[in-house]
Structure formats: structure tokens, C-alpha cells
Amino acid sequence: MSVEFSSAAGIAAAVSARRVSAREVIRAALDRIAYRDRSVNAFSEVCEARALMRAAIIDEAIAAGRPAGPLAGVPFAVKNLFDLKGVRTLAGSKINAADSPPTADATLVQRLERAGAICVGALHMGEYAYDFTGENAHYGPVRNPHDVQRMSGGSSSGSGAAVAAGLVPIALGSDTNGSIRVPASLCGTFGLKPTYGRLSRAGTFPFVGSLDHLGPLARSVADLTLAYDAMQGTDAADPVMVAQPIEAALPTLRDGVAGLRVAVAGDYFENGLEADARTAVAAVAASCGAARRVVLPEARRARAAAFLITAIEGGSLHLGRLRTRAADFDPDTRGRLIAGALAPAAWYAQAQKFRRWFHRAVIQVFREVDVIIAPATPCVAPLIGQKTMMLNGVEVPVRPNLGLYTQPISFIGLPAVAVPVMRAGKLPIGVQIIGAPWQEAALLRVAAALEAKGVVAAPAAAAPHGLSTAPPLRG
């Protein structure tokens, strides 16, 4: 079978039924990565030996008649802030290259592998996750598979690009201010940022502890859901995990949107949009029958508070490295972290207090509606190296403004699914489907209904000029 653009569900079914071996699947994925990633630059390290060894274990289990899991033989890759045994957790930095490799895998990697999936490598990212562009001064930009002259989005840049390029059906990323939803939007994939405290962050390199989330990216809602369900469960190793029961989303995925009150986010979320984003939101809203408009009060101030918390916690985290190795930071990261480290404590305390206020105000909105639709990014992928863009007739910097609509949502830990809106022949763009805390299953239902109607879908990225769509056949 062709692994390129195959679904995780399809691969797992084929491997479990012995129509293809896990080894064949992984070998094909590794070949494709070696061939296609030259133009995309998604992978920081490919774990060939580890993946083939794991594939052999899966094939042995299936041959012996033992269940191999709902993700049997499915290749996946992780942002290089997830610990992988024996692989340096660079977190997109030059500085961490001196660290010893971890001796164990991150919790979520363990959980995916327990479900039968096979990790094939680590993915590039913006330095220390402080990025929306996918650019990195040390390792080069991750290129958008739909147009390699354009940004992939960040900071889970390699995760978005690897999935969009068909290198793996599932990748894991982190999202502090939008770092799953922004690359999902620009690369045309689905992405889930769960409720804060839902998925364990143990074994990952932190950025902003009070805002960090982890989640999957995939090319279909079913694959996103399979990965999400496999990763749920409490973990004492992550101090902010909430003791929430496992709520499998797959059983209700095809239940449709009937009974859900869907609204469109107005005010702040309607301003600064390019026509592409506006049209995308309208298409999703029309399909969901979302006639109602709601306002999340003080969203602009919420974004400002998220900015402050990010800079201050991030600056504090990296203070030691800023003292001793400031010259080794990415120039686009360094100044923001130093400024954050020097900021007064009163700013941080007020931002955290405002966060509580904003959370309470938004929860009030969710008494009236179940799901809110909002843009994921204000525009399609900008060109690599582009510093400014026009929003609402005003020239603004690209880097911070790609997260214009994601930051107020992650600020209060709400779950959100980024869905890629179908736009034949055009660059991808995503829309956020946002819910109250712990409502991931309902959001995935909405995404699945939109996918079933053909309103959203992950477009296949054609290989750039000079590369055919598939790697040459081996030997």
C-alpha cells in the first residue's frame, strides 16, 4: 500500500489485517522522508533503527495473534521538544545541543506507542517554541509543502509541514499561544489544542508553564481523534494535569452537530481579517447553521495579557542561558526573552488576575452557546522572510500577528480544533472550532460533520518543481 497521504486509520486496519506489515509501512515512510524532506526541512532527526525495531515488535504481535492497538504500525513524529530516548531535545535551539540525550520518552510518545504507533523522528520547530513563523536562524526555515517559498507557521512548524507533505499521518506539537493552530492553518491540516490540563506534558521541554498545551496534528478528523484518545489519561508527572476522566471522542465522532448551539465570534475576531480568512469562517459558519454572533469581552486585552505572561515566564525560564549564552539565541527570540526577564512583577500579577476575570466572562458566553467559530490565522501563509503584512489596511509585523486570533483562546485554556477549509487551487487556511473546557469530543464531532460535508479537508501537497510526488522505487 502507498503510505503517502494514507490515513492512520487505514494503515492500522491494513497492518492489523496483515495486508501489509508494519515494517513495510515504516520503510516506505522513511524513504519518503529521505526523499521529500529535502525540500520541506521538517525533520531534525530521523529515528530509523528505533522505528524499524518497533515495527518488528508490532509485526511479531500480530503474527502471534495479539492485538497491536488502534494505531498499529502508524508512523508518527514529534516536535523536537518531546523527549525521545537517545535523541537530543533541541527545542529548536543551538544551546540545547550540548545537553545529554534523554533516557526515556515523553509520556505522550509512550502512550501513542502503547497504542501501536511508531515514532519515526523528531521535527524542527521555532526556537524554544517562541515563534509563529516556522523560521529558525540555526536550522533554517521549515517550508510550507504547498509552496516552499512560504512559511509553515510555528512554532510546531515541522509538525504541520510533515503532516501536510504526507511524511507521517500524525505529528505531535505544542501550543502555548497558537503553535498547533497556526501551522495547521497555514499548512492545511487539522490540529487539536485540548483543554489546559487534559494531556500530560511530562517529558517535554517547557516554554510558558501556565500556558503550555500539547496536542496532535493530522490530515483527517478520525486520525486526530484516534491520536487524542490514545493520549488521554492522568499523569502524576505533570503537576497541572486535572484529574479528568478519559472521555473517548471516537465513539461519538459521527453523531453530527444536531443539538449543538453554534455561534461565530464577533468583534475582535472580525477585525483585521484578510478576505481568505473571512470567507473561510463564513463557509464553516454556514455549514454549521451558525446564525448567531457572540462577543468574547476584552479579547484584545486578553491577547495583551497572554503576551506579557509569555514574555515574563519565558524570560524567567531562560534567564540562566541569557546570562551565559545570549549570543547563541536566535536573534528573533533573544530580545523578546530578555525584555520579558526584565519586566516588573506587577505586570505579571495583573495579567494573571485578568486571566481569571476573562475566563469567567467567557464561561458566561458558553451558557448560551456550545461551540464558537473563529479564524485561526488572519491570512494565508506569508512568504519566508516577510517581516510585515497588511491587515485591515494597516501594515503590521508578521511574527506576532499570525497568532492574533489564537492567543485569547489558549490564554484561558479552552479546547480548540483547527480545521482546513477546502479551497481548490488556493493556499490553505484554517478556522478554529472552540468549546468550553473539556468539550473536545463535541468539537471533534463538529469537525467530522464539516469534513463529511466536504467543507473542510486537508489538501494533498504536490511535490515542488524538480521532485516527483513519490520517491523512486527501491532496488
Binding site: 545570549a326 526584565l342 506587577a346 495583573q350
Partner: protein, 61 residues
């Protein structure tokens, strides 16, 4: 309102307290980012909040 002169002074004091030497080549970038944070802080500090509003850094949704 924070300006470049005030920002330079604030940065110098805070950097000294934190024993953080900022290379001359990095100063303009740090100041630009600090001024941006000042703008955002003004927006956040300008919002009236009750004294009893919880400022706990560990957030629970």
C-alpha cells in the same frame, strides 16, 4: 508613557538586579521589545480588577 530614555533606565536597573549583561549589539532589540511590553502592560493594568481576583499562576480551566 514609557519612552526610550525611561526604558533604557528601567532596563539598566533591572538587568543589574538580575546580573544580566546585555551586549551593546543587542540593546536596540531589547529596548524595542521592552517598549512593546510596556504598551501591552498599559492595556492590562488599565483594566479595573477586584482585590480578591485570584492571581494564582497555576491556572485551572
Amino acid at each position: 508613557m514609557m519612552d526610550r530614555v525611561k526604558a533604557d533606565a528601567a532596563i539598566a536597573v533591572a538587568a543589574s538586579v538580575l546580573a544580566l549583561d546585555i551586549e551593546a549589539a543587542h540593546c536596540d532589540d531589547v529596548v524595542a521589545n521592552y517598549l512593546r511590553l510596556c504598551e501591552l502592560a498599559e492595556l492590562v493594568l488599565g483594566f479595573p480588577l477586584d482585590d480578591h481576583e485570584d492571581a494564582g499562576p497555576v491556572f485551572t480551566p
